[in-house]
Symmetry: C2
């Protein structure tokens, strides 16, 4: 699967050009206003070449996303190495929002393409999910975070944030979601099952 064969010098150059242009256009938010062919032209590449490297819009997005995810994972590891678990998790999640703000167009574009069912992009999120899982696991070991919820739920919440990028008060709401998640993750000190599941009575 991950068998990367050595690309010819030439090919690597074109590929980089495509990725660079893609990053730029994603970030500007213009990706969907563009014929895919024209995108090739913009990157200084023929149609055939574009399709050889990236058979679909999704494939292109995946490649861009890959770099993004790698950077975020690095950051996660770094935080985990230098901060107490709970704080590392909090800082990382807050940082995600900052990052999305800084690259709004990119986030929006990726979120849109993610939604086109296919799971291709979801696949690429795995390393990120692993990083979040690690952060959560560490905090659980510390005893600062409950152990009955799992990182998947956090990923869902993050996805919700990323997908809603056009809401009016986005930034504030995004911070709100993070607050809810972080506070919700805090290990319930006493047995205060206040709201929690109302034991799902009668259907309907």
């Amino acid at each position: 699967m991950t068998a990367d064969k050595p690309l010819r010098a030439d090919a690597r150059r074109k590929r980089e050009a495509l990725l660079a242009k893609a990053r730029e256009i994603f970030d500007a938010g213009d990706f969907f206003d563009l014929r895919f062919d024209d995108f090739a032209r913009l990157a200084g590449v023929g149609t055939g070449t574009l399709y050889r490297h990236f058979p679909t819009r999704e494939a292109l997005a995946e490649a861009v996303y890959h770099g993004e995810v790698a950077a975020l994972c690095d950051r996660a590891r770094q935080l985990q190495a230098t901060l107490p678990a709970a704080e590392a998790l909090a800082t990382f999640l807050r940082g995600m929002v900052d990052h999305m703000v800084a690259h709004e167009g990119l986030a929006r574009t990726l979120a849109t393409l993610m939604a086109d069912r296919s799971g291709v992009l979801a696949e690429g999120s795995r390393p990120l999910e692993q990083a979040v899982t690690d952060l959560v696991a560490a905090a659980v070991r510390d005893g600062t975070v409950r152990d009955d919820v799992g990182a998947g739920a956090v990923m869902m919440a993050l996805h919700g944030i990323g997908a809603a990028h056009d809401r009016p008060g986005w930034r504030a709401e995004a911070d709100g979601v993070i607050s809810l998640v972080l506070d919700g993750l805090r290990r319930p000190h006493s047995a205060q099952a206040a709201i929690r599941t109302p034991s799902r009575r009668r259907g309907a």
Copy 2:
């Protein structure tokens, strides 16, 4: 905007046929495998007629979504009238997950179309958001829920749940998100600012 002119008997019938077929196909998850033209044929309607009633896939989805939202809002009002605020909110949110489970294809399809930037569908969510806002507001008045987060954050989380329908342990994770949100919403009894915002120090 909401000026509904009386449709000719004939027209109403075709429109209903389209909506019915749409519901069916959405629910089956086959909507995107279908040429829009063919969808018309399936509903027993000519292409022109389809386009007259619903100029785009999004428009069609919006109409279906409208009914869905109306039903959910009714449910919200009903809960609010018969249960303590906090419990009404919890029951409603848990019920949303049940509902999504029962109509997986529909949820997935709508989420996908929502993502295609355009905000058309987001518009249709407003009544639903209002309902959630009301539920939250009531709970805030009760003093059971914090007042610094707002319903928008809850909507984001819900959207995240709906958009992630193809994850392996979806149901469990969805319940997890709801748990986080509900617990996160609980008014912090004492001044226990444990994890909360690390006061956003140095950028990056």
